[in-house]
Point group: C2
Chain length 187, copies 2
Amino acid sequence: MKCSVYIATSVDGFIARNDGSVDWLDSSGNREAEMGGNADMGFGKFMSSVDCVIMGRNCMEMISSMNLTAGQWPYGDTRIIVLSNTIKEPPKNLKGKVELYSGDLLELAAKLEREGFKHAYVDGGKTIQSFLNLKLINEMTLTRVPILLGEGKPLFGKTTQNIKLEKSEAVAFPNDFVQVHYKVSYL
Amino acid sequence: MKCSVYIATSVDGFIARNDGSVDWLDSSGNREAEMGGNADMGFGKFMSSVDCVIMGRNCMEMISSMNLTAGQWPYGDTRIIVLSNTIKEPPKNLKGKVELYSGDLLELAAKLEREGFKHAYVDGGKTIQSFLNLKLINEMTLTRVPILLGEGKPLFGKTTQNIKLEKSEAVAFPNDFVQVHYKVSYL
C-alpha cells in the first residue's frame, strides 16, 4: 500500500500555531490572484487517488472543530482511520465518518493492504513523523504557505536516520504558495 | 541598501548538523544529473549582484575550516563583514579577506549605505534571523536540499511578528534540489 503525505506548512515548517490554529492558511498569499484551474492546488486530484485516510487525533479534532457541512466535507466517502491511544469514540459530529485505531502502525498498514487498500493519505504532524520513521511514506506533497510564523507545531521531527528525497517537482502558484513533490527513499 | 538571503537548507529546515557539519550539502541529491548551465544553481549570478557580504561568526568559522584555495574562494574581492562580539581578529587564513564588526546592525546597514553599498548578501542562521527581525531582509533565495536531517541548526527562529513572503518563484533542478525565491514583506 502506497502512503502519501499532502500537507501545507509555513516556509519555516509549521503546520499550526502553538494553540493549534491554522488561520494563516487562508489569510496568507496573494488572495486576489487568478488561480485558473488550480484553485485547490491539486487537492481534489490527490484526494481522488487515495482510498483511505490515516490521521492523528489532533488532526481529527481540528477537523471536528470546523463543523463542516456535507458540502464542505473534503473526504467524500473515503475510509478515515484516526490514530489514538486515549479516546475510544469520535466526537459527535464525526460519528459514522471516522473509525478509531489504537495499536501498531505496521500492523495497521498490513491490515489495510490485506483488505485491498492501495493508497493511504497520511495526515497530521506526529502521524507523518511516525510513518516516516517506519519507512512507510512513499511520496510527499508539501505546499509552502508564503509566511514565516516564527513558532508553532512543526511538520517534521527527529528521524531515526537521514531520509533522502528524490524526483523533485516544484510549482509556484499565482497566489505565491509553492508546492513541492518528492518521492521518499530510505537507505 | 538591499539585503538578500541566499542559503541552502534541508527540507526540514536545517542549515547544518548540530556539530556544524554540512557534509550532506554535497552528498545529497542526484549527483549524476546533467545540470546544463545551472551547475552552481544561480550562485555566481547572485554573487555578481552583491557588493558586500555580512555574515555571522559561525559562518566565517565554517568557511575558515574549509581552507579554501584562491581558486575556490567564492566571494572574489567583495567586501566581507563578520559579526562578532567576542573575537577581534579573524582566523589566520582569512586575514585581509574579512573585517570584524561588533555593534548595532541598523547602524551597520546605514553606514554601508552611506558608503555607497547597494546590495548586501546576508549569511548565517542567527545573522539572518536578526536581520529579518529588524525588517532589513528584502529578498530570500532558499535552496532546499532533498534530505530530511531530523535535527540540526535551523535556518529560521522566533520572529517578532509574522513575516509575509511574496512574488514566489520556484524551480526544481535536475539534481532534485528545489530553489525558491521570495520578496519579503513586513506589515
